[in-house]
Amino acid sequence: MTQSGKAVKLPVKNDLGFFEIRMESIGGLGANVAGKILTEAAIIGMGMNGAGFASYGSEKKGTPVKGFVRICEGDQKVRINSPVEEPHVLAIFHEALAKSVPVTAGAVPGKTVVILNTRRTPAEARDFLKLEGGRVGVVDAMEIAMATGSRVNMVMMGAIMKAAGFYEWKAVEETVLAQFGKKYASLMKSNMEALQRGFDEVAFGEFPADGKFPATPFTREEPKLGYETAPIGGTIYSVGNMRFKDLSTSRTGTIPLFILDKCTRCGECDITCPDYCFVWEKGKDPKTGKDGMVLLGIDYQYCKGCLRCTHICKFGALLPSKEAEQDMDKITVKHKFLK
């Protein structure tokens, strides 16, 4: 029962009686807190039952993370503990994730509403995510978060509430207040504004499963190395193979830009970079013509956008820049690892 005494009915439920939400994010954008608020608002504020959890591991800031919310009617018990596979709302907090994570797995046309934090239109978002079809919502959560002085998660929560359809404004507002009110009372106005704008500004498009893109069913992936093939004891022989990872999804909009003309090849950037992105080679110094180590550029596959290097370079050869304004394929210089 809600505080007003009305029983809230879920618009749709799966076989086990749940309305389910999945959030695809990176550590640091607040998907976990969003899940907590959406769970608590439904349970405490609206008299329902549910669960909120995340794909925990040792996730660091910038690494992919999933948040899950399961809501059922108040008299039902929550027993299932496994992750949400085919959600009713799939909220993608960080669009660059689509490059490296199967974020759309389990999106079912007609069941799943997909929400993307993006500047794209719904049609562009559908193409970008290669969705089979269904309802797609877009919201520029980053922009709204900056404009309101809030965070991406508040905007995305507003959009999720709109897509879910059954959330009561008052319940969410009170939960946000309980979550942040005490410690961050000054941010309450910004947070509520971001939530409201997310709710109001999410724009939807409806796309038939017209065969443009194949279905993206959820698969429970098994590792390629198994008990018959993995070296015993967990030993890894392929040393340094983390280099095959693409860390560009850790970035949240800014990159260092390398200005070759300004570079004095002092080597300070190679000291300060925690992610070993600078590509140096033996060669002729472009200024003096002498033999020596020469900085060729940045391998952006590994750059997390911390901007340490832009701070340390005294010569203006490394400048903060908006990633969206650059052609990343063109400006990246790849490391040469194997001869």
Binding site: L16, G27, T39, E40, I43, I44, G45, G52, F53, Y56, G57, S58, K60, K61, T63, V78, R79, N81, S82, E174, R220, E222, P223, K224, L225, G226, Y227, T229, A230, I236, S238, V239, G240, N241, M242, R243, K245, L247, C266, G267, D270, I271, C273, D275, Y276, C277, F278, W280, M293, Y302, K304, G305, C306, L307, R308, H311, I312, H335, F337, L338
Partner: protein, 758 residues
């Protein structure tokens, strides 16, 4: 946020909250208001202490929270506290439980009740932080009563009941409450709690000590030396007590039902009335599996589920009774008793059935979900169908098997990422020369030229943006020539550079748990030396051995590091000091300065951050009189590289200790790009002076005073979100004490610099 308290049918009012298993365990502990909590952070149980610390800063309880130097120390704190006549609480997981293991039989064998929350997780190795039952099943036979909490509500209820069970005069035993790491510990659920803490306190009553180590009227000897023929009698008493607890648990469960309206039985039997086939399974997976029971029941299949709420004492009568008419049973264990033909529960259940007249239950043992592998309704359904097959055929075709293990793809070969770094590629950039006066001089320390040095850690690691660990490691390694073997303690640096099947390390790397890295590398160093001596490895082969630890790993692992220093092995120990246990979510380490806020030293009206001064690890090693000790900081890379080169040279003689200050943007709450100015301020305020100690002779390498750059500590503190409160008027006493301590240590260091005998 909590829903208004509701009073039902004469029972005390209860409130609805949404909390995770960890949070609700802390809530129960707060309501009980234990006297003392001894603890040490370990995933996934850490939040229990964190939540209690945050509550303490707000004045919600008065539990004395004592961070141990490791779980072994924490268990010692708990044991000591429990001898002194009050209620004691602790929480841990996995290797934390194993590190505390020795203390478990001490606590039970000497009969001091306390409550220990075990947030179950896979034990190493390889290191796995996710949930399974390999920890609790190892601890099951240490004489503790063991309650299994299947969901967040049960975590609360059992935490309220646990002290009452253990403190019962006929029992006097410690109690473990075990719940599933991540599945239960981190999942937010609806939980009903008593609205008034006093209800919980009245239910338990005051703690009544049977022995008190601080009762001066009754002096006692606690823990005497006891051999045969006495010890067997002590064990008989202990066994009688835990057997007696069988009825006490039932009594307390009944009293609690009367108070709360929530019923617990020793064994929960779900749809077992007419079941021919059943699944015996613990905790959160059992809850998931109930969905499968319902689905199969809809098909008309006579299946049910058995989930014990208590495993010590093992509810033998209840298990026998429920299995009376069951023909096929699958016992699923989230761990393996390797070589025992089944997990712990499979063996227990089979033993319970032994000799039971007229029983025809056939049992299959399945090991599932280890290391946190997800457990789905479909998995439970498959197990139930196996049980049905056994019931139908009357035979168990596969008595013991792994469920959900994967053979792998035989066509897959991991791709090669790098060629091994050769001696030649890694050499020839830096030289250490000894002057006629016997001083070491480092040649070739030019940052540009050193970009040629192959990086020993490759790109692609998963550290947070701006992480200082990899800046320090890379800079330090620029000063190291030739082959290196590296060992990392558990910590951020380790976790983000290896996540199977990936590794960022291009050179040979070893991990061992952070109690023991220095001892482990000692073994490597000595085996290398002995194999060289025996001619198994060429005599001219040279390897530099480096151990890397965080400052946290050097709390729990300090003992073995000092041991390695005293034995003077030829190796380098690098401590990246990021001022806290950042891998588990920024709890206090002993290097955190006075007044600073961490997730276990919160700032609030009732607590002003950490209560004690920072550990001076460099001086601890200097006091071990090893050949070389130094401190380094990334704002002075050439100083760091010079010291690395010297460290390598000194490691030919014996042990070297290097302390690196390392920014953690996440925990320090700073902008990622601001590392250098913040580290610079830490050096300029003399909090982190740059110096070296060569054979006992101290040299300050950078004197901010001399350069007119010395600043007050506030210039360092003002940059960081975690220390901003220290600039507020209410923290003036802490600020002054911190400044005075920094000044005192700096003046002392200057005296050491002046006098080679100091």
């Amino acid at each position: 946020m909590a829903q208004t308290a509701k009073k039902q049918s004469g029972r005390p009012a209860q409130t609805m909250v949404v909390q995770s298993g960890n949070e609700i365990a802390a809530t129960a502990a707060k309501q009980i208001n234990y006297h003392v909590m001894g603890y040490y952070p370990i995933t996934p149980s850490t939040e229990v202490a964190e939540t209690l610390d945050a509550m303490k800063a707000e004045g919600e309880h008065t539990i004395r929270m004592i961070p141990g130097d490791g779980e072994h120390g924490a268990a010692g704190i708990c044991f000591g506290a429990s001898t002194a006549g009050g209620r004691v609480f602790n929480a841990t997981s996995a290797n934390g439980l194993l590190f505390a293991f020795e203390q478990l039989p001490v606590q039970s064998g000497e009969r001091f009740p306390m409550v220990f929350n075990i947030v179950t997780r896979a034990v190493s190795g390889p290191l796995d932080i996710r949930g399974d039952h390999s920890d609790i099943m190892l601890a099951m036979n240490t004489g503790w009563i063991t309650l299994m909490a299947a969901d967040a509500q049960a975590v609360y209820d059992m935490n309220v009941m646990a002290p009452k069970i253990g403190e019962e005069m006929s029992v006097r035993l410690p109690v473990m409450v075990a719940f599933d790491g991540f599945f239960t510990s981190h999942q937010k659920r609806r939980v009903e709690i008593f609205a008034d803490d006093q209800v919980v306190r009245d239910f338990l009553g005051p703690f009544v000590p049977t022995v008190s180590s601080v009762d001066m009227k009754t002096p006692v000897t606690i823990g005497p030396y006891m051999n045969d023929p006495d010890q067997i009698n002590n064990k008989k008493q202990q066994s009688d007590a835990i057997i007696r607890s069988y009825d006490v648990i039932k009594k307390v469960f009944a009293e609690y039902e009367a108070l709360s309206g929530r019923r617990y039985d020793l064994v929960e039997c779900y749809r077992m009335e007419d079941a021919e086939a059943a699944l015996f399974i613990l905790n959160s997976a059992a809850e998931t599996a109930k969905e499968a029971v319902d689905a199969l029941r809809k098909e008309g299949l006579k299946v049910g589920l058995i989930r014990p709420n208590v495993i010590r004492p093992f509810p033998i009568e209840e298990v026998r009774a429920v299995l009376k008419n069951v023909k096929g049973l699958v016992v699923a264990d989230r761990q393996d008793n390797f070589g025992g033909w089944g997990g712990a529960m499979a063996i227990e259940v089979k033993a319970a059935l032994q000799g039971l007249k007229g029983n025809a239950t056939q049992v299959a043992a399945r090991v599932y979900g280890t290391g946190g592998k997800e457990f789905f309704v479909e998995d439970a359904a498959a197990m139930l169908r196996e049980a049905l097959e056994i019931a139908k055929t009357g035979t168990v075709s596969v008595p013991y098997a792994y469920f959900g293990a994967n053979p792998g793809d035989p066509s897959f070969t991991p791709a090669k990422a790098f060629d091994p770094i050769t001696e030649a590629q890694a050499s020839g950039l830096i030289r250490v020369e000894t002057t006629p006066e016997g001083k070491m001089e480092v040649k070739g320390n030019i940052l540009r030229n050193l970009t040629e040095r192959p990086k020993r850690i490759g790109p692609g690691h998963g550290a947070c943006p701006g992480c200082g660990i990899f800046v320090n490691m890379n800079t330090f390694m620029k000063g190291i020539e030739g082959h290196v073997v590296i060992l990392f303690h558990t910590g951020c640096g380790m976790v983000v550079t290896t996540g199977y099947p990936y590794t960022a390390h291009k050179i040979t790397y070893i991990h061992n748990l952070f109690q023991n890295g220095a001892a482990t590398l000692s073994g490597v160093v000595e085996m290398f030396a002995e194999r060289k001596a025996r001619g198994e490895i060429p005599k001219d082969e040279k390897i530099t051995f480096i151990m890397v630890t965080g400052d946290g790993g050097h709390d729990i692992g300090m003992g073995p590091s000092i041991g390695a220093a005293m034995r003077n092995h030829r190796m380098i120990i690098c401590e990246y000091d990021n001022q806290g246990y950042q891998n588990t979510g920024s709890q206090l380490s002993f290097t955190v300065p006075l007044g600073q806020s961490t997730s276990t030293s919160n700032y609030g009206p009732h607590q002003h951050g950490k209560a004690t001064h920072h550990k001076d690890t460099a001086q601890i090693f200097a006091a071990c009189h090893v050949p070389y000790v130094c401190t380094v900081a990334e704002n002075n890379p050439r100083d760091m590289i010079r010291k690395a080169a010297k460290a390598q040279k000194y490691a030919d003689e014996g042990l070297v200790f290097v302390k690196m200050i390392s920014m953690c943007p996440l925990a320090w709450k700073t902008e990622e790009r601001m590392s250098v100015p913040i580290i610079q301020a830490s050096v300029d305020c003399c909090f982190f002076p740059l110096y070296e100690v060569e054979h006992g002779v101290t040299t300050i390498n950078y004197d901010p005073e001399e350069k007119g750059k010395k600043v007050p500590v506030t210039e360092f503190l003002k940059h960081m979100g975690k220390t901003k409160h220290m600039l507020k008027p209410d923290c003036k006493p802490e600020l002054d004490r911190f400044q005075a301590e920094v000044d005192r240590r700096w003046v002392r260091l200057k005296e050491m610099h002046k006098n080679p005998l100091l």
